[in-house]
């Protein structure tokens, strides 16, 4: 998504390298995707991510 739009920044964060940030976002398992208030545990298929994003931006 970040490659397709300059409005999107996608950051893969190594939770071991940045433990305080991982704590801040309550990372208990990986992958954990955080977009504003939206937190998703586990891998998310593109369609599902899009649906969650649309709902969270409403």
């Amino acid at each position: 998504m970040a490659m397709a739009s300059n409005k999107v920044v996608a950051e893969a964060v190594d939770a071991v390298e940045f433990p305080r940030l991982a704590d801040l976002y309550q990372v208990r398992g990986v992958p954990r995707t955080v977009i504003g208030k939206l937190h998703i545990e586990g891998a998310v298929p593109e369609g599902q991510l899009l649906a969650r994003l649309r709902a969270s931006l409403l």
């Binding site: 490659m3 409005k7 999107v8 950051e11």
Partner: protein
């Protein structure tokens, strides 16, 4: 460092790609030898790859990355794109990193028409963080 089959896979992934791909590595202390070596090997395999590195400067570089070490993909103009890795990508993440580079070399975005339409209509910025662990 890379196994022969991995080297072949990398060459195949970039075959036909014509765009230069820039990567900016913002270091915090010494770059780990393992990542430095694999990056150098990647550079040998992929002539389109341009890697620059410098120490992260909190005052000057926060706009590029709020933390370091970080690996930032650059766009065609050589400016930071929205794709970045906080921490050196290793293991599974290294595969994602190489895939991202290959997509950039091909100017390819593999998203559904639905997603592309959503992105085209987007009127606000979105920051996506995906936490991973090196495996």
């Amino acid at each position: 460092m890379l196994r022969p089959e991995d080297r072949k896979a990398v060459e195949d992934m970039f075959a036909g790609g014509e765009r230069e791909v820039g990567v900016l590595v913002l270091t915090q202390g010494e770059m780990p030898e393992q990542f430095r070596d694999v990056l150098a090997e990647l550079g040998e395999l992929v002539p389109l790859l341009r890697v620059t590195q410098r120490p992260w400067d909190e005052a000057a570089d926060t706009a590029i990355s709020e933390r370091a070490p970080a690996v930032v993909l650059l766009d065609e103009a050589g400016e930071p794109s929205g794709v970045r890795f906080s921490g050196y990508p290793g293991g599974y993440e290294f595969g994602i990193f190489v895939q991202d580079l290959a997509d950039a070399a091909h100017g390819r975005v593999e998203l559904s028409p639905d997603t592309l339409s959503f992105l085209a209509d987007l009127d606000q910025s979105i920051a996506i963080k995906v936490f991973t662990t090196p495996t």
